[in-house]
């Protein structure tokens, strides 16, 4: 538990979360969501919860990003709003 590292990772998590919901391109949004999952995984591992971090790295950053990208390729890439 190093609180400086925690703070840096938390800032990255917040930046990625805000960017993922404000960006107009859905493909970029999916990739930024993958980056958010990866920073969340780093934060969890740093805080000592290795098992949850491992699950987040395998499912959140790995597989669900592929699912989002596949869904975006089958629908439109631009948001309406």
């Amino acid at each position: 538990m190093i609180w400086q590292l925690d703070l840096i990772l938390l800032i990255f998590v917040v930046i990625c979360a805000i960017a993922a919901i404000t960006v107009k391109d859905l493909l970029s949004s999916a990739v930024i969501l993958g980056a958010y999952s990866f920073f969340m995984c780093l934060l969890w591992v740093e805080m000592g919860s290795v098992d949850v971090g491992f699950t987040e790295a395998a499912v959140g950053a790995g597989v669900s990003t592929v699912f989002f990208v596949a869904a975006v390729y089958n629908t439109t890439r631009r948001t309406k709003d």
Binding site: D51, V59, G62, V63, V66, F67, V69
Partner: protein, 153 residues
């Protein structure tokens, strides 16, 4: 996306890295009960290796390795392993998924029986999660057709 781009760098790299991913996934499943990891994470990594094959080559090539029928059978096999171990415990006179009673069947002492029981559960969960991930990806990527590539719109 799938089957339209033929890139020798991507294909060679995927061919090199997929066996290591699968060995690592088997390690995660087999050591799930005394280190981080387990059936769900290992199954996800196994499914991700297959998804990588789909993305680097195409769906036809990947389905030559694992057909739709085999995929559904593996998914059901995982559920049967999970439920079967629980029902065996129930038949032997303990609660559902109470692995300690398996020492009568396996002829080992109780802690060893618990360790082997949770290993069987992890293997079942790994099979089911791997097949479910592959199935979700194939249905999403090909609009349920399971055949051809997706065009960019």
């Amino acid at each position: 996306m799938i089957g339209q781009i033929e890139d020798v760098i991507i294909q060679t790299f995927c061919r090199l890295i997929i066996p290591f991913m699968q060995v690592f996934a088997l390690y995660v499943i087999a050591h799930g009960h005394h280190s981080p990891g387990g059936g769900f994470q290992g199954g996800c990594i196994l499914g991700a290796s297959f998804i990588l094959l789909c993305v680097a080559y195409d769906i036809g090539e990947a389905k030559g390795r694992m057909s739709e029928k085999l995929n559904v059978m593996l998914c059901s096999l995982g559920v049967i392993i999970f439920g079967g171990i629980g029902v065996v415990c129930l038949i032997l006179g303990a609660n559902y998924l109470d692995y300690g009673i398996l020492h009568k069947l396996l002829r080992v002492d109780v802690p060893q029986a618990r360790s082997l029981g949770i290993l069987g559960i992890e293997i079942g969960v790994g099979f089911a999660v791997m097949a479910a991930m592959i199935s979700i990806f194939l249905n999403l990527a090909s609009r349920g057709e399971h055949e051809e590539a997706i065009e960019w719109e």
